[in-house]
Symmetry: C2
Subunit: 245 residues, 2 copies
DNA sequence: CGAAATTTTGAACCGTTTCAACGGACGTGG
DNA sequence: CCACGTCCGTTGAAACGGTTCAAAATTTCG
C-alpha cells in the first residue's frame, strides 16, 4: 500500500515472478529497463531471506539500501519517543521499500512474517537511475500512486470510525487476494491484531471487538484469527464509506 | 506540505520569484530545465488569480491541469459521502498541485485565501516531461519528500493527542515563516479553526480549547485569532513529541 | 502436554465530540 | 455613524466512542 512503489497493479506484473533467484528483474518496473539495464541491476542486487520480525531498515539509520519484496509481508512504521507506533503501510510481494528515503530512513521496516527480499545498494541504484531515464518515469508514477494511497489513509485515520476503519482495511486486503472482493472470498490476515491496530490508529481491543461486531452483523466471518471471509461485500463497502459509497 | 511537490526547501528558491507574470520558471525545479525547456514550459502556462474558497480542482473531475502556487494558501482535501472532510495538506507559494493525480483528481483543492496560481495543461506537461528527462529526477525527489511528509502526518493522525497535534502543527507553520521556530517568532495562521481541525482530525471546538490551553501554559500567545507567537520553542517541541524529542 | 503469546471479553474511565449558548469582528444598510 | 445580521471563535455541560485495566479463552509452539 504504500511507503513506496508497487508492482502489484502493473500491467506487466509477470515480471515479478519472471526472475527466479532474485527479483532484480522486478525493478525493471513495467518494461522501463532494457536487457542491458536489467543485467546492470542484477549485478548490484542480492537476495535475502529473513525470519519474522527481522528488521530491514531502522528509523534514523543511514539509508544505504533499497528493497524489493519478493515474498511475505513487511510493515513500515514510525515511532513516537514514548513507544507509540504508527504503521504507515504494509508491503507485499512486488512492492518497493526505501525509494522515499533521504539520507536516513524516516521509518522502520520489519518482517511481519518470514520474507524474502531483493536488496540493492543505494549508491549503485542512483547511478543506474542517472543512466536510465525511462526508469525515473516509472518510479515517478509509482511514487504518485503511493502518495494517493497515503492520502486515502489520512482520511481513514483522521475521520473514520472504528467500524469504517476495519471495513476499509478488510476491503483493501481482500482486494489484494486472488479474485478481489467477492461474496465468500477468503483471505489471510498475516498481521497481528496489534499490527492492525497500529495501522488503523486503534487499540488491539477495539480491533478485536470491532471484528467481532462485523462478524455478528453477518458482514464477514473469521475462519481463524488470522484469516477472514467476506460474506456481504456490498454492506462491507457501504460500511467503509469510501470511494463509491 | 504535501499533496505534491514543493520548491520551498529547494536550494534554488530564488527561481520562484524570478518569474514576474507567472511562475512558469518555478517548475524548472532547481535547475532541471535549461532555457529552451523553460520557454516551452512558459508557452503552456497561464496565470490565474482566484478569490478565497475558489476551487482549483474537484475530487473526481478529470485531472486536466496541474498547478504551481504563486501566492496564497491552498487546501487539499478529501470528502466522505456524508460530508466529513479530511484536509490532507496545505499548499503554499512554490508548491505544486496535481502531480499525484491519475485520470481524475483524487482530492479537491480550494483557495484558503486569495491565491495566484500558474496553471499548465496536463497533456502538454506530459510531453515536456518525456522530452526533458532531468525534470523527472527532480520531480521524483519531491514526490518522495511529500510521501515522507504524508507518513509523518499519518503518525500524527493515528497516534498523537490533541495537544501534540496542535503543537506539531504550530511548529510546522512556524518553521515555514521567516526565521523558522524561535522564541518570540510570530507567524500568521491563514486558515480557519475548521480547516485546522479538518487537517488535524479534530473538531473546531477541540482546536480552540487546545490553543487556549497552550496559551494558558505560556507556550504560545495568540495576538489575533489568525496569528500566533512562539513563546517557549523548547516546550512546544517537547509537546509535539516529534522527530528529536 | 504445558508454557507463553495472542485474542477475546468485561467494566470503568477519559479525551474528544456533540450540542448549546455567548462574544466579538466585520460588513451592509439605514 | 451606529444598528443589525452574519460569520467565526470561544466557552460550558453532557454524552459517547474508544481506551485502559483486568482477566478469561484460545492458539501456538517447544
Amino acid at each position: 500500500m504504500l511507503a513506496q512503489l508497487s508492482l502489484r497493479d502493473c500491467p506487466h506484473v509477470e515480471s515479478v515472478s519472471a526472475c527466479g533467484q532474485c527479483s532484480a528483474r522486478a525493478i525493471s518496473v513495467c518494461g522501463a529497463l532494457n536487457e542491458a539495464g536489467l543485467d546492470r541491476l542484477a549485478a548490484i542486487a542480492e537476495t535475502l531471506t529473513l525470519p519474522a520480525d527481522a528488521t530491514l531498515a531502522y528509523e534514523g539509520d543511514p539509508a544505504d539500501h533499497l528493497f524489493n519484496i519478493t515474498s511475505g509481508v513487511v510493515r513500515v512504521s514510525k515511532l513516537l519517543p514514548d513507544g507509540r507506533r504508527q504503521i504507515v503501510g504494509f508491503l507485499f510481494a512486488g512492492d518497493f521499500l526505501g525509494m522515499a528515503a533521504g539520507e536516513v530512513y524516516p521509518f522502520s521496516a520489519e518482517a511481519v512474517e518470514p520474507v524474502t527480499v531483493c536488496r540493492f545498494k543505494r549508491s549503485a541504484y542512483r547511478t543506474l537511475l542517472a543512466e536510465v531515464p525511462s526508469l525515473e518515469a516509472a518510479l515517478l508514477d509509482r511514487a504518485s500512486h503511493d502518495l494517493q494511497a497515503a492520502q486515502e489513509h489520512m482520511l481513514l485515520l483522521g475521520r473514520k470510525s472504528a467500524s469504517e476503519r476495519l471495513a476499509s482495511f478488510l476491503l483493501d486486503v481482500a482486494a489484494r487476494g486472488e479474485g478481489g472482493v467477492r461474496k465468500g472470498g477468503e483471505f489471510s490476515l498475516p498481521m497481528s491484531r496489534s499490527e492492525i491496530g497500529d495501522y488503523l490508529g486503534l487499540t488491539i481491543e477495539t480491533v478485536s471487538r470491532t471484528l467481532t461486531k462485523l462478524k455478528s452483523a453477518g458482514v464477514i466471518t473469521l475462519p481463524t484469527a488470522r484469516s477472514a471471509r467476506v460474506e456481504d461485500p456490498e454492506r462491507l463497502r457501504r460500511l467503509a464509506g469510501g470511494r463509491e459509497a
